[in-house]
Structure formats: structure tokens, C-alpha cells
Subunit: 487 residues, 3 copies
């Protein structure tokens, strides 16, 4: 996701372990007598770091197991930062594979190559030809971004790949020429390579409002390809989409609850254009590995979409097919913890956004069908952008700066830290204020006493009055009360 | 109107009367001997202010009547600022009612609860079910803005309500389910509550160019609802709009002038979706109360729309029905005195904008009908935004900063004051320049005289020439003439 | 083109020859003895300037001929700046004619009245009624810009005329009422006069990203007129455009290569809506006169469009008719040397943009046909804007600031100068660094020697080691090597 584009600024500055050892080489050679101690300097340093916190308290086996587990989880969960760092020293083709896998997962805002691998497994289960097209799309989008001199950190996070996989996949899904029509790879490659161009251009616009580009490049390019060729094309015919021209049947007794339940994973699968519930289930696993919050919001979003479909009297087939879910899934993830820090207010906002997105989805699907087009993920993009543009005076709805966006859990920790710092600042200020008012009180009391003495001497009452008119508004009421009582 | 959003910054800073007395309380208590003079300090201050200008010249009964009248007019005309201030101390439900009424009038850029009340009366005359929906829409939009933590001053000016009333009204107008179909209130409430979200998001974008959001949220949300459900929906069917597919009859002899005349108030009524000429007339009264300039431009706009319809060979029924008028009404008000200070140039610009808007209205109506949608107020929004984005070197076309926009009369006074200040500044600068040039002249003459003396002594002519080549360009021609004559 | 809008800031500051002589008048009169030398001061100055470079080297006849030729070329090529300067002193109607001619050529980014004249000749060859409408459009757009108080320099460069000529021409081309339907001049004048308004408004938005408005005002206004009236209008009927509803025939054996070749000039002609290949050829001459780079990219663009049409299985008639070419022509010119400095990278980018534009052209044509509209130059505008919004780390893709854009050759010279300055700066910095490192080396060597002496005295080795640990990372490896060898 574009959000994490600049985040890598941090990790990139942290010197990579292997490189650090290289740069230490001259000094190491220079200090020969120290070498025995640094036989394996890299591991040593890592070991030292681990030992230090363990030093004072001796852990038992259970604690050690828990620690080990947490460490393993930290290796595969989140954005797999450690793995990403390690990858930087590897062969370029391996690196590109990492970027492609991250790109595949970034569709769901997940920056995790393992999730990407699982997602590809799900795609292969659905349709191998689609999976191939998706892979080609991601690959060429990433390569094109490299050629176009885009930010290397963003490429490494898969931010130029996720539009590519969607372009590749959906062009295969919506092609009317059948599977394994190899000519399709030509426009697929062309459009994938155009992805970074459109991404970069849109980012120039959206960055003015600190907004990500989401899947807008995919929407633009797939719609462009589909409407440029159309259903009646000799080379690249498209599936026929037509506007609704008459009332459809809607018998509530025919509603099947099992299918309705299945529509939740199917809705998640439809993000990648897949209607197989198992594929959707696999995608859910991929989400859960990286971020449980993302997983939860994806599920909620899919459910909200299904309910909206029923509320707006949509044909049951569309609901079962997950067409009401996938946009809500993405919108709910984006608002619920990804670009806003997760609080109960933003959680409600995410649910509201999912409902809004479902409504918008129906609208856009109807509009697009006039041109023989599917809705793609336009509804998600537009609704999420709308909800990200809101300005509010509620402090718990905190939009993270795009450079700080990583994944919901880390975002939440960042938000908590920020709040803590603010609270401490506030407390300090309050304390200072208290001290100040205390000082003021004392000063006034001292002044009173002096005046009292003077009054006793001169027997005049106008001295305190004069002062009141001079700075009456600025003063503390308590001080004034004191003033009065003193008089 | 969003324009007045920040205007309240001023009034809000002016301490509310009741609050002022509270804050003066301690000092008042402190200075007991002064109390008799300040028995009713608030009224006293107000009275003093009034007496001061009246002091020197003793008014006769006619003047007094005129003054009284002006005072009463100032209470109900304009934005009823005094009433608004008074309202701030009242019970919250009463306040919300004030905001709802202001919201109802803000559709026409009128920030006046009395106008709002009259408009509601007009709506009830038209159709009670529509009026109910409009009320529900305004109410929920306002409440939603409160929940979402939007700017309280903007809410109090009805800036979050006017989209709500339009959403509520037009959803009822375009519903094909007939009046009193109570289920309609559900999407009505949902869409009304989405108004502040869309408003806030659009304001984030438009504020970059210091532009208001106009009725864009209404346009977006009503179109969204209508196209999401459509004519063939089981729950919320919409009226059928279809693109023109053949030539319509157009016999100029059939043109009825009485209906054509009626189309002017009907055009104003159509801003709220009402085709009853009496309702339109009532709306005109509501406009006149608050701002005669607004009223005049509304009438001109409606007439321009009607003429444009005839010029572009529109079916007469559409013209009679006010469909050519309502956008022009709004566009003409917006440009003529509301967001530009009213001068004859901006008046002409407003008329030009109304013509442009009528053209655009026809275009948008045709485009939207492809999707089964009405034109809503898209033409007004787009044309007014275009005309507000113009940059020009003409000084009399002065776009008011959004924070200074109130109502045309007040805007005009603000503009005049600004111009006066500028004129005085210019005069001062000119005077300074004159003084400087006078000084320069005298200096040169003094120098000349000295040189003359020298020349008489040395009999050489190259001294003045030298000077001419040194700073010939910078000097005043008058000074040079003097120079020459002196020589 | 809007790009050159601010460029004139330069030339405008250069005092116009005639005016300079006037301002020199008083001093000339003052210094009577110098007058004989300044009989014709203007020519003198010009002559001096020419003589100075010629002074030292005596040119032979061939060199002199070449020089003369270059001078003549400089008078009619590029933006004819000298002619433009001379025009400023002429009668206003003559000036407006200059502006109108420049406006006619600015459609192709050419700021040259001679090219404009040739283009008008081409238009007359095509259709005299169209040419008349084009002239009326340019004239009224320019006059309207004057009335609206737009920047005089921009008007003088034809930046307010090029949308006018397109509006006038295309309204005549797409009118279904036949040639010499004089009523058409009314909407023509109205729309032409609206051009500067829309231009100014769009410029307010696009300037935030330092982007030109291209032909967006034309696109907006012609589409507005066409869709507002439509095919079934009594006053201003439009040509019927309809979406493709079935498969067209496509027999590759029927492809005619001669027509395909002709489609290249026809594609260039279609920028002005002309299908006559001779007209296209005349336009190519007009381009070549002003800027060969523009001419080359126009030809490449047209060819790319033709190839794209074949690749996407377009009906041959459309390709022959130049419908695939004209957008690519404009896009290729804009990216190839006009708004980017021409390098081989931007040349490739221009070709890529042309392909993208062709794809987009097909898409937009299909979408617009739903509303009964042609594609106009929307595809060019959108694709060129997209490619101008790209941000990249490649230094040879240099987007010129809009204020510096003139014509490709001059842009290139500007870019080279800029690069040269940068290179010199870099060299200087490197030299400074070298000097610094040299100094450091010497310092270290001096220190070493001192230490060597000390070591001989004290026989201890820990002194240099200490230093290594202190600032080992910051130091030059060479210095360290020296350090080691010294030890």
C-alpha cells in the first residue's frame, strides 16, 4: 500500500547487518588484537542485544517458549521487516520475487511475502490461467517501476505491484476469449507496465491531501482496456455487461442461508475476482497471518456488504457471488485501523464506510454497465477517499500521516505512544500552571500583606481597587477571592 | 452556505451579552460603590451606544419612526445575527430548530431562520409528505454533523442542513413508490447522515481554492441513491428518466405567455423541487425578507433560464415546469453579490453565468438521463465553481474570501470599506510622492543656482550635461524642463 | 500553448525599440552635440550589436550567406519573437490579427503567425465555411479574453485563441444543419467567448501542479454544446454518434497500404477536424517551419496511432480517416520536447504516451458515443496530463517549468545550459573536495611523521590505534591505507 511508501525511510536508515560488517572491515583489520572477540561479530551483536534484557531476570522454560514463539511470530507476521532487510543482500531476481509476493498481498494492504505466497496458492486453486496473468502483471508492473526510476523503497514494499496483479487477473477474468488465449498477455504486459505511470501521476495529485492512490490505477487501466476493446472486438473481446432493463424476480422464501454465509469468504475472494469460497478462505488465512485486525475488518466488511445487498433488494445471485462484498471488505480494512488509528470511533466509521461503499457499489455498477463495464473497485476507492478526507474535531479519529502507515497493529502502537507523549506534555503544562498560579497566589498574598500594612498606615481603600481595574480579567478567580477576603 | 462557515469567527468572538455580564461579575462585586450606576449594565451599555449618536441632534417623530423601523428590519433581515446570538443561550432543541430553519434557507444562500420558516410553509403548501421528508433530512444532517464533531459555528449557520433538506425532499420527489411510503425514511435518514461526511470531504478539496461546496453533497448523494436503486427496484423504485430518442414537436404558435411568465416563480420553486407557482412566490418572499439583492438575482436567473430554453428549442413543457430556471437562479445568486462583491461587472458576470448554466443544464440533463437520473443541481455547482475560479486583472471583479462571505448587502459594505481604505492609502502615497518630487525640484533649483554662480565664475557648460547622463532616466521631466530653462 | 504564458515576461521586459527611442528623447535633446552620431539611433544600436561579433574574424561570402540565411530563418522560425516585438507598436487590429494567427497555430503548440497563416490556408482548402467559423471562434475568444482582463502577454501568444479556433471549427464540423447555416455563428460566438472563462478557471486548478490546460476548454465547451442540443434539436442539430452494437467486418486482405500511408497526414489534419490529406500536408509544412522537432513528433505520433488502430482491430475506415492519429499527434508533440526537454528517454516516453493515448482514444470514443458525442481531444489531454504528472528519479526526464516552455529547440538549449551549469558546479565541488582530502592527507602524513618521531622516542604503538577508533568511519580509505603503510 502506498501508505507505507515512506515508512521504509526508517528501516532503510537502520544499517543492514551484512553491510555493517563490511563497513567495519577496515577498522576490524586495523585492530587485529580485537579479532578473536569478534569471530562472528554480526551474531554476537544480535546475541548481546538479546542477552541484555534477559540479564537481570532468569527466565523459566515457559517464558522462554513464549518468547521464542513471539519471536517466530514477529518473523512471519506484520510486514516481515526482518526478512525484508535480509532480502536486500540477496540476488536481484530473488528480491524481485519478494517484491512480487508483497505486491500480491498489498491489494489487501498487507505488506507480507508469505501472505502473497498463500494468495497465489489461492489463485492457482481458482484458475491457473488467471494466476499466471496475475503473476505476469505483478512482475511487469514492478519491472516497469524500476525502469521508470520510481522510489526503490516503495517498489520493495510491493506498492507498484498490487495494481499490476489486479490488472493482470481481471483482464483475464473479464476476457471473453476463454482461458489460455495467449495473445491476451500482450495487452496485459502493456497495461501492467502503464501501472507505475498512472500510479505516479495519481500520487502527484493525491499527495496534496496526503492520500494514497489505492487501486485507482487498476480501475483506470482495466476500464480503459475493456471499453477500448469492448464485447464486439476481434482481438480482445470482453464479457458482456448490460444495464438492467426490467424488474428481476425477488422471492424472499428462496433465500438460502448457507449460500449467504458462504458469500462472506466469497466476498473476500472477489477482491481478486475469485468466486471460489475456498479461495476466499485461503485469502482470509493470508490476512490473519499478517494482521488479525485487518482480518477482522475484512470479515465485517464482507458481512456488511451482504446485508446491504439484501436491504437494497439486489438479486440473490449477485449477493451469493460476492459482488456486494469485495468493495466493502477493502473499504472497511482501509478505514478500520489502516489509515486511521483504530479506536472505537474509527471502528464505527469503518462500518459506516462499508455501508456507504455498498450503496456506492450498487450505484457505480449500474452506471458502469451502461458502458459495458464492471464496477471494479471504484466504489472502494471513492468511498475510502471520501472518508479519509473528513476533517473533524474529535481527537480519537486520528488520520495517520501517510509516511507512518504500516499495518493496523503497528499503527495502533504508534498512536498510543503519540497520545502518551501528549498526555505527559499536558500534565507537565498543568503542573507548571499550578506552580505558576501558586506563585501568583503567594505574590498577591505578599502584596496584600504589604498593602495591609500600608492601609493601616494611610487608611485608604482605593489601592486594591486600582489593581482590580488594571488586570482584573487576567487574574485567577481564586486570587481575587483571596483578594476580597483579605480586604 | 459554506461561505459563511468561518464568518461566525467574528460574532463568536464578540462576547455574548449574558456571558459578558457574568465575566464582569467579580469586578462589579469588587467595586460596590459603582453598583448603583450599573443596575442593569447590559441594557445600559446598549442604551448608551444608541444614545451617543442621537445625543447632539434631537430627532423628531418621523426620524424616530424610521429608526425604529430600521431597527426592526435589522432584526429580521440579513442573517438575523442578533437573534442567532440570543439563541445561543436557549435550550438545545430550540437551537437545533433554529439551525434546521437556517439550513432550509441556506439552499438559496440565505442564513435566516424566518426565511426558513416561510420556505417550510411553501413546502407544506406544495406537498406535506415532501415537507416532512425535507424536515427529517435537515434534522438528521444537522445531528450527524454534531456527532461527527464538525465546526459548531458552521452547524449553527445551517451549513450542514441545506444539503440534508435537498436530499430529503428530492428523494421523496423522485420516488416512484408514491407519497407516504414510510420505508423511504430509512434511506432518507441514511443519506442525510452521510451529508456532513461528503460535505467535509469536499470542503477539504475545495478549500484549497477557497471555494464553497455548494450543493455538491446533495447532488452526489441523491444521484447515488437513485442510480443504486433505479426504476426497477423492489424496495425503492425511482421515477423513470429516459434519454430523448426522437424529435419532439415544436410549434411556436402554441407558446403560452401566461405560463411563460409563471415559469419565473416556478423556476425558483424548482430549487426545492416544487412546481407550484404559489410555492415559488412564497420562496421569493422568503428571499426578499433576507436580502433584496438575492431576490433580484433569483428573478433574473429564472428569466435567463426561460429565455435560454426558448433559444435552444427546448420542449415548452420543460420550460413551463421550471426545469430551465432553478439552476440559473442559484448560479445568478451565487455570482451576483454573494461570492463576488456586487458591481456592474459582476452583475454582468452573473447574467453570463446564468446563460452558461442554462446551456450546461441542458447538457447535463441529457447526459444524466442516460443513467436514468435527473440533472439535480449539478449545472449550478459546475458553472458557479467555474466562474468563481476565474482570475482576472479587473479590480471590480473582487472575489470575497470565503471567511468574509455573509449576504450580498453586507458583502457590498465590506467591499466598499476595503476600497475606501485602498483609496486613502493611494492618496497618501501620491501625496508623499508629490512632496518628494517637490523637494527634488527645490533641490535641483538650488543646485542650478549654485551651478549658475559657478558657471559665471568658470564659464563651463559640461557640468549639467554630466549630471544628465548620470541619472537622466530617473529624473522628473518637469525637473529637466526647469533644468533646460535655467540653462 | 499556456506553457509560454509567462515566458513572455522576459521579452516584455526588454524595452521595445521604438519606445526606447522615445524615452531617450529628452536626454537626446539635452545633448545636442551628440545628435549627429545618433541620426538613427535604433538601427545604429542594432548594427553595433551585429558588428561586434563579426569584428575580429573577417567572414568570406559563404559564411556571410549562411549567416544571412540563419538570420532569415530566425525571423520566421520558432516563435517569431522579433516580429512579435515589432507588432507591439502597430495598430490594434493588426495586433489582434497576429494574435488570431498565433492562436490558430497554438493548437499544435506552435507560437508562430506564419504557421497560423498556412494553417488557415489549409482550412480554406478543406472547407471555407469551416475556416470562417474557425476564424470567428479565434477572434471572439481573443476579444473575450481582452474584455475579461486576462494576461496580455498570454493573449499576444495566442494562448486564448487556440481553444476558440477548435470550438468554431468543430462546431461547424459536427453540425448536422449543413454548411452556411448562418445561425450557427450565434452559439459559436457564445461558446468562443466562454473559452477564456473556462481556460482561466482550469488554469487556476492546473497551475497547482504546474500543468497547462491544453485543449480542455475546447473539449468541455464543444461537448457541452453538442450534448445540450443533440441530434434531435430543431435549432442546432448535431451529427449522430452511436455506440457500436455489433461486430464489424474485418478482412485483413482488404487493407490498402496507400490509404494507410495517407492516414499519417490525415491524422495530423484531424487535429483541426480535416480529412483532406493535402490539408494535413500543409499543416505539416506549417509545423516544420516553426519547429522541426515538433514536426517529427507529429509524424511519429500519427504513425503510432495508425499502428495502434490495427493492433486493436479497429475498422479500417476509422484508421484511414485519421481518427486514431490526431490525439497521438498532439500527445507525442507535448511530451516529446515541448513540456519535457528532449532526450532519448523523453523521446521514448513520448512514443509510449502516443500508444497510451491511442488506447485511451478508443476507450473514450466508445464512452462518448453513448452520449452521442465524438472523442474530441480528451484522450490527448488526459494522457498528456498523466505523463506530465509522473515523478521520477531519472535526471534526463526533466519537466520544464511552465514559465520556461517555448518551443522544443529553445527548450533543449535551456536544458543544456542548465545541465552545463550543474556540471560546472559539481566539478567545482569535486575539486574542492579533492583539495580538502589532499590537505587532510598531508595533515595526516605530517601527524604520522611527528608520531613516528615520538614512537622512536617512546616505542609505543597505541597512538595511531586510538585515532582509528576515534574517527575511523569518517576518514578517507586512502588516508587509512597511508596510515597503515606508514605504521
Amino acid at each position: 500500500m502506498p501508505g507505507t511508501q515512506l515508512t521504509k525511510g526508517g528501516p532503510l536508515n537502520v544499517p543492514h547487518l551484512c553491510r555493517t560488517s563490511t563497513s567495519q572491515y577496515p577498522s576490524a583489520q586495523n585492530t587485529k588484537e580485537l579479532q578473536p572477540l569478534m569471530a562472528n561479530p554480526v551474531c554476537e551483536t544480535t546475541a548481546q542485544k538479546k542477552q541484555q534484557p534477559q540479564g537481570p531476570e532468569r527466565p523459566n522454560s515457559r517464558q522462554r517458549f513464549k518468547e521464542k514463539l513471539m519471536q517466530w511470530v514477529s518473523y512471519i507476521a506484520g510486514d516481515m521487516a526482518v526478512f525484508g532487510e535480509w532480502m536486500k543482500g540477496q540476488f536481484i531476481l530473488l528480491q524481485i520475487l519478494d517484491w512480487v509476493l508483497r505486491g500480491a498481498a498489498q491489494v489487501m494492504f498487507v505488506n507480507n511475502p508469505l501472505s502473497g505466497l498463500i494468495i497465489f496458492a489461492g489463485l492457482i486453486l481458482q484458475n491457473r490461467w488467471w494466476a499466471l496473468n496475475g503473476f505476469v502483471g505483478t512482475l511487469f508492473a514492478t519491472v516497469s517501476a524500476l525502469i521508470l526510476g520510481q522510489n526503490r523503497g516503495a517498489i520493495a514494499n510491493g506498492l507498484y505491484g498490487y495494481n499490476g496483479i489486479l490488472v493482470g487477473l481481471l483482464m483475464a477474468v473479464f476476457s471473453n476469449a476463454g482461458d489460455w488465449y495467449w495473445w491476451l498477455l500482450l495487452p496485459n504486459i502493456f497495461m501492467s507496465m502503464a501501472c507505475p505511470i498512472v500510479s505516479s501521476a495519481l500520487a502527484s495529485i493525491n499527495s496534496r491531501w496526503d492520500l494514497p492512490v489505492f487501486t485507482l490505477p487498476f480501475n483506470i487501466l482495466v476500464c480503459l482496456h475493456m471499453v477500448a476493446t469492448g464485447h464486439y472486438n476481434h482481438h480482445f473481446p470482453q464479457v458482456l455487461f448490460q444495464p438492467r432493463k426490467s424488474m428481476h424476480n425477488l422471492t424472499w422464501s428462496e433465500l438460502e442461508y448457507s449460500k449467504l454465509f458462504c458469500s462472506i469468504p466469497v466476498g473476500i475472494g472477489q477482491v481478486y475476482g475469485c468466486d471460489n469460497p475456498w479461495t476466499g478462505g485461503i485469502f482470509m488465512v493470508a490476512l490473519f497471518i499478517s494482521s488479525p485486525i485487518t482480518f477482522a475488518h475484512a470479515t465485517i466488511g464482507s458481512a456488511v456488504g451482504m446485508v446491504s445487498g439484501l436491504a437494497l433488494a439486489a438479486p440473490f445471485q449477485n449477493i451469493y457471488f460476492g459482488l456486494w462484498g469485495y468493495n466493502c471488505v477493502l473499504a472497511c480494512i482501509a478505514i478500520g485501523g489502516m489509515f486511521y488509528a483504530l479506536t472505537w470511533q474509527t471502528h464505527l466509521l469503518a462500518v459506516a464506510c462499508a455501508f456507504f461503499c455498498a450503496y456506492l457499489g450498487s450505484a457505480i455498477a449500474n452506471v458502469m454497465s451502461t458502458f459495458g463495464l464492471p464496477a471494479c473497485t471504484w466504489p472502494f476507492c471513492l468511498s475510502a477517499l471520501t472518508f479519509l478526507l473528513i476533517t473533524t474535531e474529535i481527537k480519537n479519529i486520528h488520520k495517520l500521516p501517510l509516511a507512518k502507515v504500516t499495518y493496523p497493529e503497528k499503527n495502533l502502537i504508534y498512536f498510543w505512544k503519540m497520545k502518551k507523549v501528549e498526555r505527559i506534555d499536558k500534565q507537565r503544562k498543568n503542573q507548571e500552571k499550578d506552580v505558576e498560579s501558586q506563585q501568583k497566589k503567594e505574590e498577591i498574598m505578599a502584596a496584600m500583606e504589604t498593602k495591609e500594612h500600608k492601609r493601616l498606615d494611610v487608611c485608604s481603600v482605593d489601592v486594591p481597587q486600582e489593581e482590580t481595574t488594571q488586570n482584573g480579567q487576567d487574574r485567577n478567580p481564586e486570587a481575587i477571592e483571596l483578594n476580597l477576603t483579605q480586604l
